[in-house]
Every structure is written in structure tokens, then in C-alpha cells.
Point group: C2
Chain length 362, copies 2
């Protein structure tokens, strides 16, 4: 089937661009002494995770136990839940999963460490446990320094849990538009991670891994020397929001590989076309989608099931029934709206990859 025959709205993965992005990331980290653990919260798809592993990734990460279950079920053997997991039902599931694969998880609370230990003991499983430190995101995590040491000791003394190191991710830094601002934010994060690690190790507790970083900042985490592992997710797809970042050399510039295909379902006026892809097809939390390679067409408004396009004076206007590609504003929640990727190469559908962790929020 050709792309033009695919019914809409559809989530389209351009395989050539996707594969270039995998290679670009492998090249960016080659010889830099860090390992790659891509974030599968972005794609929620074991088929993609397996290709990341083939391209050199050490393992993957995700945010939810149910995502980890879908990844392990799909054949992934090493998954870090880069997030806290709270509540007996989830801890039970996590511990059960740790009997089938190497599983990591983050903590920022001593009582949660004890609950995790109890769940692991009950399941006869062991887990890698990372202490999350807040390196500037003001979300989860203990403060760097003494609180990190205290919690690391708690974990290290809680067999069958293994203290695996520090989670040090600075989310808001990913979208600072200026490269200088991102570099400065990550320099502060890296310093906090580095000092926490030294404090922990000088107290006699081995701290094997500092992990973190995202697609907008990973070059700076690598540059800092403080990180052993990076967790970029969006690089495989490259959405419109990340494209608004400044990407100066030598930062890897990724290609747009993820699109939403929509059909023009109404042409009510010279200046207006309406697409059948609204905010239930492409998440608008980080801005509207961009119309791909159709100069003069602007996605101006999204409602639930409609996207209103403005047609600039003199621009080639789309006809009723025409299909257009959109670059989503934010890839992660857009993927979570769809059940499969329509994988396309040179305009021909090559595969459908199910998004098996779609809706896996638990």
C-alpha cells in the first residue's frame, strides 16, 4: 500500500529518517565513555526498543510499571523505570517482572525503599535501585548531597535491592531554546550529581552509575564527564517542539521521522482547509503541529477532531481528500493516542508496529 492510500488520521514513521536518527545517536556517543539507555516512554513500542538495542543501546528506560511489562513481554531484557513506583499492587508487579528481566527503579523516600524491599523479598527477586536526586527539575527526587547519601545507605542495606547509582534528570532544561542556557543548566546538574556521587563513595558505598539526560541536553551531560548513561527518548522521532531548540554544531541534528497523516475533509473557503486530525490525533500540549513540506499552509487551530489550516494568499491550496503530513508538537503524548505506527519507506508501507504500551499508565 502506498502512503496516499493509508486511511487517516494515522501515525506514520518514516523508516529512513528513523534509522538515520539511530545512527546519528550511535555516532554522537561513540568513544565518549557513556552508554545509551533510550527512553521508551516516547515510543511505547518493543519493535522500536529492539532496533535501538541493535543500534548499540545498553537497555531502555520507561516511566511506568505497565510500560516495563509491555517492553519485557516484547522481548526487552533490561528496563529501568526511571521513576518512583508507589503502592503495593505496582510494587508486586514490578518485583514479579524482575524475575523475568533486569529491572531498575528510582526512589526518593525511605519508606518506599522498605516497601520495595518487602515486595522484592516476597517475589524472590532483586532490583537495581537508583536514588533520584533533584538536579533542577523541581519535580521528584531528594536534594543532592547528604539526603542522597542517606537514601543510598538505606538502599545499600536493603538486600535483595542493589544500590545501582543516581538518577539525575533535568527535564525543563531539555526545552530551553538557547544552547547556552541548556549547557549552563546541565553544568549545574552535573556538578550536583558529581558531588553526590563523591559523597556517597567517600562514605564507602559504591555508586556504579549516574544516569539521566534527554534529547535536548545529552551532549552536555556527556561533555560534563559526570554521567555514565544517557536516557534520550525523542531523538528517534524529533518533534516540532524539539526542533525549536537551537542545535549548534557539534550537537546531533535529528530528522523528523514521526508524522500524523491527515485528510482534507472540508474546503469551506479560499483561505481555509480543515483536516480530520485534531487534538485527539496530535497532542497540542507543547504547541500545534506543523504542516510538513507544504509552504503556505499553517495549522492554525485544533479542536477535538479537526485541524483548521490557513492557506496563505497565492499558496498551492489542497483539494478535498488530499492527504497531508503533520509534524506533531510533542511526540510522546501523540504516540499515546495511537495503536500502531504505519512504517513507510519511499512512500510505501513496509510494516505496522503495534504500540503495545499505548495507554500503559500504571
Amino acid at each position: 500500500m502506498r502512503l496516499e492510500q493509508v486511511d487517516t488520521p494515522a501515525l506514520v514513521l518514516e523508516l529512513d529518517a528513523f534509522e538515520r536518527n539511530l545512527k546519528l545517536m550511535a555516532a554522537a556517543i561513540a568513544g565518549r565513555g557513556v552508554r545509551l539507555r533510550p527512553h521508551a516512554k516516547t515510543h511505547k513500542c518493543p519493535e522500536i526498543a529492539k532496533r535501538q538495542l541493535l543500534a548499540g543501546a545498553f537497555g531502555v528506560c520507561c516511566q511506568k510499571v505497565s510500560e516495563a511489562e509491555a517492553l519485557v513481554e516484547g522481548g526487552v531484557a533490561d528496563v529501568l523505570v526511571s521513576n518512583e513506583v508507589v503502592g503495593a499492587p505496582k510494587l508486586e508487579r514490578l518485583a514479579a517482572l524482575a524475575r523475568r528481566a533486569r529491572i531498575g527503579v528510582c526512589v526518593d523516600d525511605a519508606a518506599n525503599v522498605r516497601a520495595l524491599q518487602a515486595a522484592a523479598q516476597a517475589a524472590g527477586a532483586s532490583l537495581d535501585v537508583y536514588v533520584e536526586i533533584d538536579v533542577g527539575a523541581a519535580r521528584c527526587g531528594v536534594p543532592p548531597g547528604e539526603p542522597a547519601l542517606l537514601l543510598a545507605r538505606e538502599v545499600a542495606g536493603s538486600a535483595p535491592l542493589r544500590f545501582a547509582g543516581l538518577q539525575a534528570y533535568h527535564g525543563p532544561a531539555q526545552h530551553l531554546r538557547s544552547a547556552g542556557d541548556r549547557r549552563a543548566a546541565i553544568a549545574r546538574a552535573a556538578q550536583a550529581a558529581h558531588q553526590s556521587r563523591r559523597l556517597i563513595e567517600s562514605a564507602g558505598v559504591a555508586c556504579p552509575v549516574v544516569t539521566g539526560a534527554g534529547s535536548g541536553s545529552f551532549a552536555y551531560e556527556i561533555e560534563s564527564g559526570a554521567y555514565d548513561e544517557i536516557q534520550p527518548g525523542s531523538y528517534v522521532f524529533m518533534d516540532a517542539d524539539y526542533a525549536r531548540n537551537e542545535w549548534p554544531a557539534p550537537l546531533a541534528r535529528f530528522d523528523h521521522a514521526l508524522f500524523v497523516l491527515g485528510t482534507v475533509m472540508s474546503r469551506p473557503s479560499e483561505q481555509r482547509a480543515v483536516l480530520d486530525a485534531g487534538l485527539k490525533a496530535s497532542s497540542v500540549d507543547s504547541g500545534l503541529p506543523i504542516v510538513w513540506e507544504r509552504p503556505g499552509l499553517r495549522y492554525a487551530r485544533a479542536s477535538d477532531e479537526h485541524g483548521v489550516l490557513e492557506i496563505a494568499a497565492g499558496a498551492p491550496a489542497p483539494a478535498l481528500g488530499d492527504k497531508l503530513l503533520l509534524v506533531p508538537g510533542h511526540c510522546d503524548p501523540t504516540v499515546n493516542l495511537h495503536d500502531w505506527y504505519v512504517c513507510v519507506r519511499h512512500g510505501v508501507v513496509e510494516a505496522l508496529w503495534p504500540i503495545t504500551a499505548r495507554g500503559a499508565g500504571y
Copy 2:
């Protein structure tokens, strides 16, 4: 199971409030000479549609062919797709569906009418076809007046299509905060609909039904006398965005019946709690969720999997593991993130209703 035992994030339907909303709507239209065709794009759930029908609705509407398929499959016998349907695959499916149920659809283009006619003929099916007029929304639809008459004639002459009337929905008017502004916008819409109908009927074409209206404006469509049928959707759930509207008497005030249940998964500081429900659990396109009945807690920021709550000085702070209810900012796209409703009465789970049209965007 009690509500506190439900794992999170979960989409919760408070049955008492939901049933009150059904009754309130029935009371609001009783004796007013309009029929109720609730919008199922909001809930995507045949179980809810059937309860709306039992509460007096004439049929339901939706926006997509795949939603209509899910509704008919779930036992609903009368569905209006209140939207244009473009492209052979969708028209084929729509026509096939019209052999199993009474199906309506909207048009705003003559070529689309011919394609619809061909699909209906090929399937041996007939459909109710409504001409959509643009009454102020600046989205789909032909202008009121002559263009509506021209297209109505086209439909009326295209057996086995039946010209069923006019679709006249003013979307943006739903969220005008001032009741006076909403009344004025709907007065203009109603006048456009009324004049178009007169023009069509004076040309000898019967125009049986004018349909439209939403939860924010239906009282004014009823008041206008120009509408035979109203299409409110959100009234069954009442989200945070609609709650910001001014609802003066005698407008029906609906209760919040839809919630997202989240767990406190981190308590990194005195002033901050982090919930496991972010923008993949509650859509933020129309504003952040509201924390329900927990004074002093404010949902301040959403990221993909996290909601950051600010705790006011002196407010009762939630503990790690506590579960909180959120009123979603916008109900329709929030429902589309979940696979089932956890239906609760007096704090006890009474049923799970599958959201069978979740992700049905085709």
C-alpha cells in the same frame, strides 16, 4: 473494591452525579419541543449511550465513522455522524453501517454528496444527510442561505440519500464565559439556521430537522425556537473548562461526574507533592485539572507522567501513597486516553465500562 483500592491513574465515573446529570438534562428539555441527541464523542462508550437513550434521548451523535461503528456494535440503533466524511474507505464503511442502523452524516461539498450517493448505492443503503452550515464557528460548513439551498437540492436529488435537514453547531460559543455573550452568539446562529431553513422550504425542499448545540449553549438554542434537536456531550461529565462558564438560572448546572484518580508518588518538599497522573492521564489542552475537594492543593504543572501539586502554607498535606481525585480540564480528550471507566457509587466500584471507541479516530 473500594475507590481507594483502585490502582492509578484511573478514569472514575461517579454514578450518582452522572445519573443526576442525565435527569437534569431530561428536565431541561421537557416540554420544550426539542429532542436530545447527546454527543457520544465525549464518552465513546455504548454503555453510557444506552443510559442516555433510556433517559429519553432520541439517538446519539459522534464525529467519526469508527466511533459510529463502535456505538452500533454496542447496541445503539440511531447515530448521526455530525461531521463530514471524506474518502472512499470511510464512505464504504459508513454505507455498510447504514444497513445495520439509522445513520446520518453531514456534508458541505457537492462532490462529496456524489461520492456518498455512490457508496450508498453500492451498499444498497440509505442515509440521512444534513447540510452543515457555518453559523459562526469558522470550521466546516457552507455559508447559510443560498449555498445551503444549493447543497440541500443536491442531496434531495441524490437518492438513496435523504435530505434530513441542517447541522448548525457553533463550537467556540460553548466556551464564551459570559452567559450574555453565549446568548448573543447563539441568537445569530439560530437566525442563520432559521433563514436557511425558510429559504430551502420556500424552494419546495422539505427540511425536517435543524440540529446542533452543545453543553455550554443548549438553553439558548432551545430558547431560539430554531432548533429541533440538540447535541450536548459534556453535560454528562462536566469538566473544569465548562465549570468556568457563567451558568445563571435557569440554565441547568451539571455536577462533576468524571475524575482522574491519581496517587501521590513523591513528597519531595513541604510545599510540593507529585501525582502519578500527568498529561497522558488528563488532557491539558483546555487547562490543567483541578484537585477535587482538597483545599490548599493546586495542580500547578503537568508533564507526561507527572502532575506537580503545590501545597499552600497550612493546608493539610497529602502523604506518600494518598489517592486524590482530579477534575479534568477537558473531558473528551481525557476520556480518549483511557480504556475503561471505573464506575463508583458511595466510594465502592460498581462496574467497569469499556471505552470501546477509545482511539476511534477514523
